[in-house]
Symmetry: D4
Subunit: 209 residues, 8 copies
């Protein structure tokens, strides 16, 4: 764990057999924590519960993740916001990764900028967090608004939610990179996993500080 | 005035002589209102005050407009917001065009989403307006936020303000088109003129309603 | 109804169960008007008629909308044009949204610029409207032509109709934003809903003027 | 003249000396017709009149062309339309090239779709032409409208006129390629030269038919 | 037939019922020539032979066209080249449209630039043609080469054949528009129909010249 | 200082007078720390030393920053790497912003992946840092390599250094977002300022942890 | 074999029957070496073993290739690296093509930059190779790193592996073209075939040198 | 010289002083061969002849290179073709780099595909070369044609020559990557340097083979 982050299986682009075998190998190789696979196709999600006899296996069909092994005790406090309901799967990939990395995560869904009172009603909670991950598709405006409201580091995750110029998530990604709010950082479209790893590194520093 | 909108000279891509001659011709052809030129190069802005003897000539160096003839009495109430200071020239092109079309316009600058309190402090004023034009570069997030806060029609004007992925204004334009706020409409990058014409048409209906 | 617009369910990216539940909740929460869902997948369109016992349920398979509750009495006069037959579904999403918002809407299909006489034959009718929504894919040329012919506000809706450089609707959207016709405004590709909300805001001002 | 078209010097990207020398060489190599250079920088336009003693030299500063030698007698009838005043330089490059190739060309400027009556007022004239070249920037809508009105072959030339999404001419080019009008063909942005060569080939067939 | 071109049904984006009904209506409305539908989905291709009792119905499954009614006697001479085997469907859409418009068309497939001898072996035949349509995906290089070899007008049709940067056909389209060969004109990706209409207009002039 | 970050003047798009006046106002408004302006044009860099009598003024011509007031005592340890020499100005904007925010920053230039030994030679130093900012243009590969080597949070800053497909920095930005190294986050092209603010927030947590 | 490379069937865009027939024809036409088809659909891969009675048929389901005939004796030494497991199919298309062309190829998978030790552990082997093909999706960083480590010619093959900004492989391709490592050359996304042909030409020179 | 290639100064993005100092340092550090700087601004080209007393200094104003020290004796045979006259500067950057690396290079300019006889007239010479570099802007078609004609490895260099869709060279680059000619490899737009390094590596193998 050269970088402090365990290896994680990217389920996309692999056969179900490859993914399950890699999960088993990771689990054997590093029994100090659970093994994680993300972006799993249906077949992996369906087979996982029966594939690791004697193990705790946690499958999140919405977030497309499989965890083999018990989660570590959580420390820290990272909040994961979403702009809309359709952004929730990416938030769950993020929250599951945080849990695997030993970080306490709360998901607050559907607080997009089209109804700002929803966000403002959560402001006190947001200001307690060590790090805030903001998941948003379409206009990608929410992370810029949040980064202007809290002192904690903010990580924007654009999503592929939307249609027309929003399809694929590039409009949201560009808006987040172009932000007028100082300090907002961005990961790839739909990459809840990457945002979680960055937040966990921050939480590690906070804990060790 | 088939469409209710007088012709306007687009100064860009013309020689100064062409623009000044077209302004004079428009002024002669339709003495019922002032003649307007937009996106004027320096040479036109410098020459205009001396080029129409006996006329009221108003030059806005920042907004790059020339108006020949007295403005009509304003009616209606359109508010023009900007996200940053650098967006003000586009807001002024918009306000001048509204004035030429007989609409009362107030420009409220520098209320971008990175400091949301600035916008929320103006909410009461915003909610009085018949129409709201929101001028924003970089992330282009402000129009989506405003469209979620007011009942009046909202028109987004992306600007070419910014650098990196924001350069040229396409990121802001895409974010506005992809908005999650219902009813936001968009014009071309830096096109304060077009937003003003649309707002004036709305004000006309409001007045005639 | 902070913005004067009721919430609307975006069916895309949700499970059928989520969409039907949200429709029921909206209907209960605001009985003063009907509840609307747009961009509904097949399963929602099929299940909706049986899902709201005792309610008037209107399903438009072509426009992919579900309305629960009786429509309000219409006022105003908005015309929705389409360039081609394949643009009609977007026009119907627009017309249904207008109806839900209490605006009288007429759809005039298939008057694209390749046969200009079709449009010119409707000019008198067009000039009566308070607002004109123009739905066009491929070259996206029709809204610019219409905006040069009528005094009412014109809203362009690019569509994803077409192939090659037209696929996805970005060519149509860019052409509309780049318009030489003053005052044309634009919404996202296929966003008949957003155009309707903007037109309804304009109709509201016209009625209250 | 393997392809029936003489070589032409592209002045852009060459030193003035190179362009003038190539013009002289072309003139010597093929005295049966004049030599042409297009997209000439200022220095070439200024030097050309004195650089070919004993020759008829015609310089078009607006269209940026230099012709050395007398023009052939014109035959045929090609009309070159422009949408706006700023598109005229490209139309003149086209008309000069047609003249060099022995084709009679008439330029009709500023008949863009924002004021359709200007085009419709020229319809009779247009319908006489063997071929119609339509030069348009910004929305690029005019060629689609023209191609729906005349039986002759229509060639669209997008221009780099415009700003925002129109800057560089790609929006106009995409709209023309995506046309709903059958038979419209397109050349590169600002390529009046290429449109002229195609029209001249058509005129040649018409003459020989 | 204002433009000399009969209406043609674009099968894509319509229900099979709509397309067959439109074909029947066109056939009734203009019995002087056959009715054509292009880009037909499987269902239309399968149903067409039984849908027009008493009519000659010609279905091209590869080119995805349906023709109802006998073809006119052909005149003129247009050659349609393809770069690869996978470009042939677009060439057949082109050839069928030419046949419907009364033009004699010959398709010469698989003469792409990777094996130049194949093209050079056909040069004599190419030089006889009145017009040459060149269909090419991937690099889109063949039309530039052909336009440098023949005196007839050349029309490039980019195709969506290829993968990686070639997927969708935009690389081929850009290469054709950027051509260094004077007089090459271009239509939309996969638009064999549009190229045929342009060629037929040229053949009409050649015949009447 | 709602977000813990003082306001900073973005010098680009403002007149020199505006920037200097804003700096003076910030300095007066918040004397607890220095005032900073970034992306300053030449005129601001030249005038700044004489514009704030009685103040410590630090101008970085290469990094285009002006600081008015003494720097706070530094805490923490952030390392700023660059791939090439031409990326140094962005690294200096970053280092100056860190200094203004009270963070100790070391710039290590010219350790790009084309000569990997340069990076590997610094690995021990890198592994001590709390946060690592990696500034790279052209291929944008360095941040992915670094993120695979250290446990600290890594922030990638793409730059506009390069030509051809690298011009403008979008290729570098896309490569960083697409990284295969978990936890790498990205800011806008050339935005050393934003990376510094994010790093300072992380350092704050580390200090308070 | 004008270019020293036998023709190869591109299976994509052809019917299974066409591909099998072309393979048979190639085999008959040039019995001096095996016949190869790439990018074969499932149906071809399934039918191939039974379609060439009396022939050695080698099918690679992962790499989607079919080889008919015995492979020539290998010479030379080309190494094919991949960044991730999902890039292996492209590496196998490359290795099979090399084998058909008579070149000895070794595939070393999964040595991407996120775990640099994997690559550095193979450095000695890499430095023996005559040519190195590097297959990478997502960030596309590996070829730049390799080109800075070895003296042999390096060929980068971007792949379509990845999601978000990486989808389709254009981000990887742009990063490779923008490389800061001298001498890296690039082929189309997923084009293992093309890289193999270039490497084989190099091996030919090395053998003949 | 880990990779067999000496370091080379990229003059763009550096001050003239930096470039001259780096050249001097390279020259001192490795006296076994000359030092090279590419993409030099005017000031470097002007100052170089006087900046290295006692050294042979070769400046190529067109190719924007400076060489300090005597060239090694050339071996091998690489041909550098250009499509047009305006592509020659990139060809010269390539030829100078080859000379510095000890490879004999011949530049054959202006053999673009618009006049194929020019290329075919050089075929015999081309077929002698060990490697062929093909420099082309606009359509970028020439490298595909050449790669179909010769057995040697072919390297395509797209250039930024051209206007409209060709401006910046991305259309040429995409066409080359999308080639239907097996084995063509590509470098960045205008990167004659990179092509030369790859060719020199190939020549090295040929010599050692
Ligand atoms: N700033 C502007 N942006 C877009 N269009 C404009 C602007 N100013 C004037 N116009 C329009 O541009 C057209 C004039 O184009 P032209 O024929 O080139 O003078 C008129 O129809 C104006 O309404
Ligand atoms: N180099 C920079 N890049 C991005 N944002 C900046 C930069 N420098 C200052 N800012 C931010 O830009 C905003 C100032 O914008 P304005 O209202 O136009 O002065 C402030 O919120 C700053 O935090
Ligand atoms: N995987 C591949 N990628 C690119 N080109 C290929 C591939 N496989 C075969 N080819 C080339 O594609 C051409 C065959 O095209 P076609 O005429 O459509 O069969 C031949 O020139 C082959 O060398
Ligand atoms: N305005 C123009 N646009 C496109 N091609 C042109 C133009 N003017 C001349 N050409 C062509 O450019 C080629 C000359 O390129 P070069 O070898 O660089 O001189 C000739 O084939 C001309 O036919
Ligand atoms: Mg919601
Ligand atoms: Mg501000
Ligand atoms: Mg129709
Ligand atoms: Mg005009
Ligand atoms: Mg073939
Ligand atoms: Mg360096
Ligand atoms: Mg791996
Ligand atoms: Mg030439």
């Amino acid at each position: 764990r050269r970088t402090g982050v365990p290896e994680v299986v990217l389920g996309q682009g692999k056969t179900p057999g490859q993914t399950l075998a890699l999960l088993a190998a990771l689990r054997r190789g590093d029994p100090s924590g659970p093994a994680l696979a993300t972006r799993c196709p249906e077949a992996v999600l369906a087979a996982a519960p029966g594939a690791f006899p004697g193990e705790t296996v946690t499958v999140d069909v919405l977030g497309r993740t499989v965890v083999v092994g018990a989660l570590p005790a959580p420390r820290g406090d990272t909040v994961v916001l979403t702009a809309g309901t359709a952004d929730v799967p990416v938030a769950r990939e993020c929250a599951t990764t945080l849990a695997v990395l030993g970080v306490a995560a709360e998901v607050i869904p559907d607080v997009g900028v089209a109804g700002l009172h929803r966000l403002l009603g959560r402001l006190e909670r947001l200001r307690e967090a060590h790090a805030v991950v903001v998941v948003a598709g379409m206009d990608g405006a929410l992370p810029s608004v949040v980064a202007g409201l809290v002192a904690a580091p903010v990580i924007g995750v654009p999503t592929s939610v939307g249609y027309g110029v929003a399809a694929g998530g590039l409009a949201a990604a560009a808006s987040m990179l172009a932000t007028c709010a100082p300090g907002l950082v961005v990961v790839n479209v739909d990459n809840g996993f990457g945002a979680a790893v960055h937040a966990a590194k921050i939480e590690g520093l906070a804990a060790d500080g």
